[in-house]
């Protein structure tokens, strides 16, 4: 990271570190389980954290080209969470 020339650069570094730590903690929960409900929840949390990381990258580089990526991440994350949960509940996704 370059030397902080703006006031919020330190906050940006802190936010990157905190979100990365959050991703790692969610990944630990994804691995240790213990049940499929926890794994779905951990995946959902990881998607939300990934959206945060993409937004932070957009701020750090001063561009808006990552916006669509974040939006598609949000949509795919929601649909995959619902599809996974529905598969566990009903044994089928589209009836």
């Amino acid at each position: 990271m370059i030397a902080p020339d703006r006031l919020y650069d330190l906050a940006l570094v802190f936010a990157f570190a905190a979100l990365s730590l959050a991703q790692i903690l969610a990944m630990i929960r994804l691995v240790i389980g213990p049940d499929v409900a926890d794994r779905i929840l951990a995946l959902d949390t990881m998607v939300v954290d990934a959206i945060g990381l993409i937004v932070l990258l957009g701020i750090a580089q001063g561009t808006e080209i990552y916006f669509e990526a974040a939006l598609i991440f949000a949509m795919l994350g929601f649909v995959s969470t619902v599809a996974y949960a529905r598969f566990i509940l009903r044994g089928d996704i589209i009836e």
Binding site: R6, L7, Y8, L10, A11, L12, F14, A15, A17, A18, L19, L21, A22, Q23, L25, A26, I28, R29, D35, V36, A37, D38, I40, L41, A42, D44, T45, V48, D49, I51, G52, V55, L56, G58, I59, G62, E64, F67, A70, L71, A74, M75, F78, T81, V82, A85, R86, I88, L89
Partner: protein
């Protein structure tokens, strides 16, 4: 102390708040001990955390770029879908018997997830018309 400094301070505060709440969501996910308790931390803390980061992004684009309101779309989408995801995950936890069993409903026969004959229920949120 001019306007740019003030905006930078606000952006920095929003970034720190968002990062802290997102981190608390994941800490709660790891720390709490039953499946239903774990559901509380990420669905709320993470949603507000990302909302705060998006506010920072929006302020940043207005202060140092051309300005965009696109982040509102992501925010609205997250706030609308978070309860639905949480509801589905809670249903999975009840269905798999991960927590203490829920009490009997006071008025009806059973909860929709536990109902053995719920093939006729068309949707999750659709109640019977009376």
């Amino acid at each position: 102390m001019n306007v740019t400094d003030l905006v930078e301070i606000i952006i920095a505060v929003a970034l720190v708040i968002g990062a802290l709440f997102t981190l608390v969501g994941s800490i709660g996910l790891l720390k709490l001990d039953t499946a239903m308790k774990r559901l509380h931390a990420p669905t709320k803390a993470a949603t507000l955390g990302i909302g705060s980061l998006l506010v920072a992004s929006m302020l940043h684009s207005f202060a140092f770029g051309s300005g965009s309101l696109k982040e509102i779309l992501i925010m609205v989408f997250l706030f609308v879908t978070a309860p639905i995801s949480a509801n589905f995950i809670a249903k999975v936890a009840i269905h798999r018997g991960q927590d203490m069993p829920p009490p009997e409903p006071p008025k009806d026969q059973n909860w929709a997830t536990l109902n053995p004959t719920d093939e006729t229920v068309p949707g999750i949120e659709a109640p019977a018309k009376t």
